[in-house]
């Protein structure tokens, strides 16, 4: 039983550690926080292994956990985990992140100025590549609600981009 449990966890971990770390690193600039959140996310997975859905749904479940752990992390910093010391050290020394694609500074600025909820749902679509149904799983809402929120967020992004000038509007024009 213990062996089965460990094998299941190792499989979930191997399949998802990269994308989940990506999810976290795209939302925090602190290597310490990223290591903590990743560790806490997979610790939750270990403890709730029987609740993790199979196949691709597992990743959505993990994104949902990571999202909540990130939110909690801000106010519970004194409970920093000791897990993943090597990962923390590796992230701290590696440095990560890159400049936005040339010419997209306006997009980055408009995105940064959106409300948190709009940013997150657009990020789930654009960064994690999720569709409305998958976003619904991560956010814990209905597919229809996710679709509506995504539509509204896109509209607000378009409005924000409009205020940044025509060059960006040209980019948006390709979206028609």
């Amino acid at each position: 039983m213990t062996g089965d449990r460990q094998r299941r966890f190792e499989q979930v971990y191997a399949d998802n550690r990269g994308p989940v770390l990506g999810y976290v690193l795209r939302r925090t600039r602190s290597p310490d926080d990223a290591a903590d959140v990743l560790a806490e996310t997979f610790l939750t997975a270990w403890r709730r292994l029987d609740d993790i859905p199979a196949d691709a749904q597992a990743r959505l479940w993990l994104y949902a956990v990571a999202r909540r752990v990130l939110a909690n992390h801000h106010r519970s910093e004194r409970r920093r985990t000791a897990l993943g010391a090597k990962l923390r050290s590796k992230l701290a020394s590696a440095g990560y992140g890159h400049e936005p694609h040339p010419g997209l500074d306006d997009v980055a600025a408009a995105f940064r100025n959106l409300a948190d909820g709009d940013r997150e749902i657009l990020a789930l679509a654009g960064w994690e590549g999720l569709d409305a149904g998958q976003i619904a799983v991560v956010l814990g809402c209905s597919r229809n609600a996710a679709r509506i929120r995504l539509h509204r967020a896109r509209r607000r992004l378009a409005q924000a981009l409009y205020h940044h000038g025509t060059a960006t509007l040209d980019l948006l024009g390709e979206n028609a």
Binding site: G18, V69, A82
Partner: protein, 337 residues
């Protein structure tokens, strides 16, 4: 180019970049550490949730039936343990009325002078009750009022090992994988015993430690959190150090004295600080022994967090942490109570 593509092009990094950063030994280490923890989620190494408090020395071998009965009775009632007196009189004769954090710290210092700390190889048993969080699947958010979870742990006084009960079996765990609470470079037995027990000097050490914490929290808040982190994670803090930590809190203008009833129904003293204008962080202290007995974190105003990781709404009155130590003992072996 649609806007999902636009957004993807401003992503700080790709999944492939991230995957490359968690490979090899770092990846294996994290998985192995996680799988060493208690899957039932009882206090383990992952989160510093072992709640230190008061200790009662139990005879080295609990063999007499009367003693066993006494211990069981003690465990059945939410009564805080009592520090063992060194002298013949208890409590100390010169305690002052507790009307301020400074008076609390002064009394704690007097009480500490009459307290026998456990030997390095002894174990501290704690039984803690706490409320339970909802919000599956992602860890603790607001607690559910009225819920209760009881956990029991043993921690060796020199912090080399910890133990917990799972499926009727005592599971021993090395503390090698336990890190330091935020604001402390280490919490080894020797380090803790090397810390100054003068509050002013200890304050300087803590201020120096918390400078390295990223963020823009006020220094006082950092100091408060560091003190609480040390107290809540160390069942075997020397009594004099505990008193000095209260003294450090008493030096913070933001810290207030209160009287409260904890989760176990115990009348306790409290030291609290309101952080970010909405979050009341409070630790509880036994008014007879001046030992730490638990904590509570309460939202006193509605609050919405800001961050790229999603909006988090906290509502006034929500409990974010609530626990109380209801039994404790100094024993010679894990499993003993």
């Amino acid at each position: 180019m649609n806007d999902d593509v636009l957004i993807s092009r401003i992503a700080p990094l790709s999944d492939a970049d991230a995957a490359a950063m968690i490979s090899g030994q770092a990846a294996r280490e994290l998985a192995e550490q996680i799988m060493q923890t208690d899957p039932a989620g009882r206090p383990g190494p992952a989160r510093h949730r072992r709640h230190p408090l008061r200790m009662v020395p139990v005879a080295a071998a609990i063999t007499a039936a009367a003693t066993v009965v006494a211990v069981m009775v003690a465990l059945a009632r939410p009564v805080p343990a009592v520090r063992p007196p060194r002298g013949n009189s208890w409590p100390p004769a010169h305690l002052e009325a507790v009307t301020s954090p400074a008076a609390l710290a002064a009394n704690a210092t007097l009480a500490a002078d009459r307290t026998i700390d456990p030997r390095p190889t002894q174990w501290i048993y704690l039984m803690v009750i706490s409320t339970i969080s909802h919000a599956p699947p992602g860890g603790a958010m607001a607690q559910i009022p009225g819920t209760r979870q009881t956990t029991g742990t043993w921690t060796r006084a020199d912090r080399r090992q910890t133990a917990f009960l799972t499926n009727g079996r005592i599971v021993m765990m090395s503390t090698d994988i336990l890190g330091s609470p935020i604001g402390w470079p280490q919490i080894t037995y020797s380090y803790l015993n090397s810390l100054p027990t003068d509050p002013d000097r200890l304050m300087n050490v803590i201020k120096d430690n918390v400078q390295a914490i990223p963020g823009d929290d006020p220094t006082g808040q950092r100091v408060f959190n560091a003190v609480v982190a040390l107290i809540e994670n160390n069942p075997a803090l020397p009594a004099r150090l505990s008193a000095a930590l209260y003294g450090v809190l008493a030096e913070l203008n933001s810290v207030h004295l209160g009287h409260a009833t904890d989760l176990a129904g115990q009348q306790v003293l409290s030291l609290s600080e309101v952080q970010q204008g909405y979050l009341k962080q409070e630790i509880f202290i036994n008014p007879a022994t001046y030992a730490y007995t638990g904590q509570e974190t309460l939202a006193i105003r509605d609050h919405t967090s800001t961050g790229l990781d999603g909006t988090l709404h906290i509502h006034q009155g929500e409990l974010l942490a609530d626990n109380a130590i209801v039994a404790s003992a100094i024993v010679d072996h894990p499993g003993e109570r």
